[in-house]
Symmetry: D2
Subunit: 382 residues, 4 copies
């Protein structure tokens, strides 16, 4: 693990998600650029001191020289955004498999470079779009694929939360919050980069359509930041499908209110991340249907990504763990010379990460120019 020392929000999430199933063990880390902090975290995690490093360069350098049975199998990158690119690049060049948090990187050029390197090095690269890994999101995708919704017409995704305004108003900005308001660390987007990309990836996961054009309005309600803390984005997808993406970190009172609705000409579906155990299907000529997680009637790939019977609620950590678990299974298959199963290959990868970076860039350009802007992402070009 690179990053994730005391004060990190996402570091412990990755560790819990990785630990849940007992098949991944944390063996080394460069948790902070401050040596004492890194060693302290290593001690808390019961690591040997000689596997705790004081920089990512040192870690990659030393780990690559270890014998393969001792060497780390993959590296999780959980630093602030601006470090994703140099670390991932170094990891890739050293041939390591990667799990990286989102957004992947800050520029289209960086995204392209990581895509190319991943292909070239033939390593595994997961991006932790955790919300797309919920079992009922996979069920939703299968319902779309099977044509239950008919021709898709419209996608509405919203991810509203009030955390930033709350943190500002009640004067409780902590380390976890502050870096997200500093362009040098977070990149050129606050809200779209932090949560807009989750909305974008959720829609892509379920519907599988590329965006063609965006028309975005961004706002900056928080005083003192020039970054977007809210965005409302009209989207034109392939095939004439229309979309709306709404995201905000200043929506007072909302708590990670991520909702997607997809409308076809035969049926529509709705899923709320706050109530992830239910997927709603609405058809014009029958009762509304509530699909439950872990039900017998779910598609096999949805059931594959659950652990407990419905009614014993799963949530965020299990979704996150699905990425780690599938990634690890794929890795183990490759390392033992087997083909990984289609189910295990089902995790967001570097190309999904790159798509998000294009989306951020395109939305910001539209907001600046007050016009529709083309989105030029092509996953097949690498």
């Amino acid at each position: 693990m690179i990053g994730g020392a005391a004060g990190s929000f996402i570091g412990p999430v990755h560790r819990m998600a990785a630990a849940l199933e007992g098949k991944i063990e944390l063996v080394c880390g460069a948790f902070s650029s401050i040596p004492a902090k890194s060693y302290k975290m290593g001690k808390e995690l019961f690591l040997d001191d000689d596997r705790v490093y004081i920089s990512y360069e040192e870690m990659i350098e030393k780990e690559r020289k270890l014998p393969s049975e001792k060497r780390v199998d993959f590296i999780s990158i959980v630093t602030p955004n601006y470090l994703h690119y140099p670390i991932a690049k170094t990891c890739l060049e050293a041939g390591f498999n990667i799990v990286c948090d989102k957004p992947l990187v800050n520029t289209i050029e960086e995204a392209d470079e990581l895509c190319r390197l991943t292909k070239k090095q033939n390593v595994l690269f997961a991006v932790t779009y955790c919300f797309s890994a919920y079992p009922l999101v996979k069920q939703a995708r299968e319902l779309v694929r099977k044509g239950i919704l008919g021709n898709i017409q419209k996608i509405i995704v919203e991810y509203s939360t009030g955390w930033l305004l709350k943190a500002v108003e009640v004067n409780k900005m902590t380390q976890k919050d502050i870096w997200r308001m500093v362009p040098a660390k977070v990149g050129n987007s606050l809200c779209i980069g932090d949560i807009g990309v989750h909305a974008e990836n959720l829609a892509y996961t379920i519907v599988g359509l590329e965006m063609e054009k965006l028309n975005a309005v961004t706002n900056s309600y928080i005083k003192g930041t020039r970054l977007d803390d809210e965005a409302n984005i009209l989207v034109k997808y392939q095939n004439g499908v229309r979309g709306i993406i709404i995201c905000s970190v200043v929506a007072v009172g909302e708590t990670e209110n991520l909702v997607i609705r997809v409308y076809g000409n035969k049926a529509s579906l709705e899923w709320h991340e706050n109530f992830p155990e239910q997927l709603i299907l609405k058809e014009p000529n029958g009762p509304e249907k509530i699909y439950k997680r872990d039900a017998d009637y779910l598609e096999p790939i949805a059931k594959y990504n659950t652990r407990f019977p419905v009614g014993l609620p799963e949530g965020y950590v299990e979704a996150f763990a699905n990425i780690y678990s599938n990634f690890a299974n794929t890795l183990m298959a490759r390392e033992s010379g087997r083909d990984p199963s289609e189910f295990d290959l089902d995790f967001p990868n570097v190309f999904d990460g790159a798509r998000g970076v294009y989306f951020i860039s395109c939305a910001l350009e539209s907001a600046k120019s007050n016009q529709w802007v083309n989105m030029e992402f092509d996953p097949f070009k690498y």
Copy 2:
């Protein structure tokens, strides 16, 4: 009543709403331009034949000549849209008070003319934006007025329904449906004119801000219509407030899904027309609050517009009846020389109707030009 013969959807709604409290009696009508249909409806409603008319012109002509104690006190217009203007104009010129369905009329010029005439004739003119008359919508407005939400930042209103696509797909177009697809009858908008204006008025009722600019995308998924069956509209309100209005009559599976959320910098609120007995207030530092209809803690004007204890659900007809009841109370006050109370004056009027017409016009212009368009409505100009 003008309009509302057999086959009409909204006619019986007006009649039930007017009858609910026992203070309004239907005494005459021109229910259809087909005499036999009009007389048949009159008979069903237990009217005397001499108060059933075969045209609105005849009705207005004859009723105005009746002695005042026998003459109708006000006229309800429940015809297809294209007739609202000539009928309302004739009524106004004859000095009659009016209750008219929405959208008020089809053009800005017509709207302006009705506003001017209403002022000149000094009559009462209600427009039945029924959703704005729910008691908890009034409560929401009072919470905004009292500053509970702080400075308003964002308004999201959605009114999605799938009725038209369903009617088309399952081949069940009835008289109630068909005229809405015919520009000569419905005007130049299908979806925005039918339900978008409800969303617009709901936001205005609660927040009281005028729109400054619109950026709309409209679509026509139904084959064979050139009218909008869906619209996604970005809005810039006064004071830098941002808005999104989403409306659709092709959202398969949705059943009058009208939802408004208003975000301030101190709190946000949320109301669903499908669950109208609950108003949700979200504050950053306390539990979410669910206001219930008819609770002791509601604002007096909200309680004034309820009938039964919460738990004995009220709905659409009671909201509709609130307009009729307040309108009738205002009328009775005026006729007996009293000042009507502020509570009774609280119904949507001709200026609200005109605002809706400007909104439709402006949204369509934006959709055509693919640009932001200014909305020039000024209620004080008449």
Copy 3:
């Protein structure tokens, strides 16, 4: 109408319900035993003074002598409970059709007598168990009849509300409340008689099973009353079906929380009176299904009892109006020599009212004796 002067809760409900569809006209009344109050109410309702009476005896006496085209078609009894019996008996003996509020009467003997008289006089007698008249309750009954639930195993009904404790605690006892605590007026039960019978009738309506034995615990939390303000009742129905009826008027914070769940061996269903537009069906091998009011897929008798498209919410007054409307249709059919339709005959009648009286009596006896008590009601004995 007998009863229902100023201060009455249920009187205006009956009037609104009867007025809703425009086919019932209030023509006479004995609204109060205080002449001035009765005349005042008559004036408010635009009645002629000569059809306002100062006692029910006077009204029945004078109305029966009117020529049939002028005479009232049926009489609504909306007085406090203790008057139901003498009024209904007098009406029956005079040959009038009746709509009576619940509970029907205070003793088994009175109930038996009204059942016998109704049969003998061959008149119509409706009892306003309004909650059983919701369209989705009728849908639930049809699902049970069609065997969708398989063999019924268990019924759970709860009707909890906090109105009385609230009224007591905040010192706001009004006329509407006080008589319910006085045995001479309300009878020997407060909670079971007021709302327990609604729960009992709701279960009977849906499942159609008679109770065989009851085991009840009652409590009296309100100081100064010896009447039950809460009851928890174990039930053994016919066919080995088990039941639980929970009712309370001291459940602080609850607002008419009436919920029924029925479990069969193939599926179960659930309906909340607070959210009456949804009926939930749970099957072991498929998604949960939400039936909506007014959907095309509903049973015809359920659709027959709705007015507006789902999404335009109906509620309490419409359910109440269903009883009046069906009753009136049956009456008109009989008066014109036609057989009333099965749909129109679908309203709770005097035998349902009697069943409720037996239920109250049996539950009180069990609570007193601390034992299981047999319920001896037999609708076929009259």
Copy 4:
């Protein structure tokens, strides 16, 4: 760990819960009485073969002889019910700390013996009533303690699920299911022992009142079992508080529907295990309040038991992990000579386990005798 080989349901749950926070490491196990199965599980869990045992006796014997720095710190018992007693007794006599699944044991005598031994040996003994460990359950308890509800009047707990009927009907009985129907393995209760005790403990956790009398009806809908598959239980708690406990494993369509409601004379609360992120407080004179997990306004002990911001849902595994985490913290405090904090001591213990055993026994006796039966549990007698 003792028990939990392949095919076990609860074994993996315990392992995931223990692993979540990274402070507990599984070091040894007797996973099955079949040696090969035990070794296979040990291998899957990356254990050394010399820490995998073929019987619990062997494990306890060998582990107690290990030097303290290598010896296991505590033992988790996750076997079928009938083995809890002999294993726990042996562990206690050997001085080991214990985490044991519920129900604790099968008889009152066994429960008494374990309580006495635990006191005598002065070890830690947790019982995994996981539902009582949800953060908002702790919040509910604090609201009761602070008097927000006033005097408690009534408790309604229901735990309905349809798993067994479903398993029987669709012929999918697996190893996980079958032993629960065999008295020699499960004890003398199926439904009350499996889930009724969860309901009992949940009420006790929140309200802290002992039961005085029970009146139970049990049923056996499943053919071929003489054990209860459903129970409806009237309860008299201390202080005149009334209760109802409903539990079922044949409630078709329900998925672990565990709901508790507590009514006081000032307010009532409601919590659904299926939606564990919300706690509802209903007061007579204000809006309904929805407490959210991880909100700033929660009581400190509730916040102490959460990990992620609300909106990133926690569920079953986190609740389970709270028991393990608090237990481990208490253990570490004791081993380092510190007093454990009040927060860490907050896990269900052997006395809570014993209370559940008394409850089962008392309910079965009442069901058999058809009478009220006294419950004689006294946690202070040991």
